[in-house]
Symmetry: C2
Amino acid sequence: MPIDSLELLFRENIRRMKPYVPGEQPQGGKFIKLNTNENPYPPSPLAVRAIQQAAETSLVRYPDPLATAFRIQAAEVLGIDPDWILCGNGSDDILTIVTRAFVGEGDALRLPYPSYILYRTLAEIQNARYEEIFFDKDFRLGASFVAAGERLKLAFLPNPNSPSGTVLPPQEVLALAEQLPCPLLVDEAYVDFAEHDCIDLVRRNPRVMVSRTLSKSYGLAGLRFGFLIAHPDIIAMLRKVKDSYNCDALAIAGATAAIGDRQWFAENRAQVLATRERLSRGLAELGFAVTPSQANFVWCRHHDYPAEELYQRLKADRILVRYMNYPGWGDGLRISVGTDAQIDACLSLLSSYLTASAPPAD
Amino acid sequence: MPIDSLELLFRENIRRMKPYVPGEQPQGGKFIKLNTNENPYPPSPLAVRAIQQAAETSLVRYPDPLATAFRIQAAEVLGIDPDWILCGNGSDDILTIVTRAFVGEGDALRLPYPSYILYRTLAEIQNARYEEIFFDKDFRLGASFVAAGERLKLAFLPNPNSPSGTVLPPQEVLALAEQLPCPLLVDEAYVDFAEHDCIDLVRRNPRVMVSRTLSKSYGLAGLRFGFLIAHPDIIAMLRKVKDSYNCDALAIAGATAAIGDRQWFAENRAQVLATRERLSRGLAELGFAVTPSQANFVWCRHHDYPAEELYQRLKADRILVRYMNYPGWGDGLRISVGTDAQIDACLSLLSSYLTASAPPAD
């Protein structure tokens, strides 16, 4: 078979797909990375120690398929029952499992716009449609988000949202869930930096699911660990779809220790929130329009300077932020909350670009 | 919405599915585990050290989406180019990615019978059909394995096979691939314990893919790391389907060190093969019919004693083996190769059961 026809062996929806492109991860050189919303601080030392210990004892056997140790620890922290938790290889794995369980070929997945690009990809891999509903100007969602839809099987709601960093309060999310004709997954990847969360809604409406990750607020992006909170009948069905051993032994050990270390969590969160305030204020002082953020990043635009140009100049000066351009909605910069020193370096460079290109005062 | 109708929200194929049940992993008590084909020896100390090191440095950032360090190291060991390798969260992740890329709703997946039960599950999750082709008595595959099939999109061939431990030689696999009207994935989870492998076929026929795992021959079942060897055009398409960060930073570090430690590998392999011979001989001496194995387990049945009863008695005596019953084909015991001491304990118990229940000699 000639090599140029290999592509024809694949499903047509896969051939059509553009690949999802993760944020730049430069492997060489020294960059200040403010582009993929990682935590700027190392994770809990208890997590590191638990992993190093597990590396001595737990590599040769298959891991616990249900990550029971983590579920028990997380359940205690969150005030729920372990049977309401499903663990995944990062919350991307959770989103994949949920999509595969609810959304078949020709079905539809609903999501807000702009939000996490991966949701589209998940629909495309299923050969399903996606319906993007624009956020209002104040980042609320109108009636079209909850309207009936042909073969609508699932809705995603990132809350806080990316790239905006905005949130819908729990009572509004519940109202959406009550009106939606399909289950609602609330993606709480960034919720630990927000004021409220939606876990309680899962108990009030069993068609609400909440996903979490340890990548952001626990400083464990490299570990790949996320989880879902949902009604046990939902969890039981989702277990059929997940890979048997989707979480490895080291990740289970590290995640269990990390979520148990409440002191690390509280201190880290307080620091990130303080630096977010410093970043938001600094950007506003430079004339940026800054969307108030409840996440560990800030979305901003400048009326006089193209966002893409600022991104390129920062990159040339070895600071990576995320330039995002959403057709029909607009572009801007998403800047992750780093350390105070990293943020000061970023603000200082931005200031120098803006000053240098400002019209000379006479 | 009443809770008893939650199930109705799911896709119909998911509702119908029976969940895949992994081999028993007792969490408490002391068992000799000879039921899930893990390696009885701890992994390479270089892998343990690499993980412990990575836990200090690599948790806070997202991992390399393409696991480049591993691909470079594995490519050197296997004599191929890194672009021919796709890494996965265990080889189950690889099988999942490949199935999702080639097999849509209503399509068909072909597999031998009996073989790895997960293949069926992967078809079911896609709402696809699976066609099971019985092995001949000598564990060869006849013309029906390569016949045309309606909407046939992919074939799986575990080689060595489980539960039989048998192999098809590479030239026979190539002949199957040349006749098959669809791509062929050769699942080489156990190949490091066999005499030959099929990597070279990938170069000779770009519709052949080969999957590998570090769970068995590298003693890293707890780490979840597997990979696929395929033509770069195939790899490029599969990357669109995988989760962006499907392999975590610790697994990449551990797997890279493990596959680089050729001395550990050679010594471990020699030991497992020697103990496999000890196990096969011991079972034959007890009157078992033993299928000659090229894997790290042995498939056997006894003409006079029901396999399920022997499994239950061993379990009561705290040795776990795998009892398997394939409707239309038969049942038997699949016993993993443990340490010499574990195998001797198992043989000694089996001997005592057989002797005790033998008709008294007069």
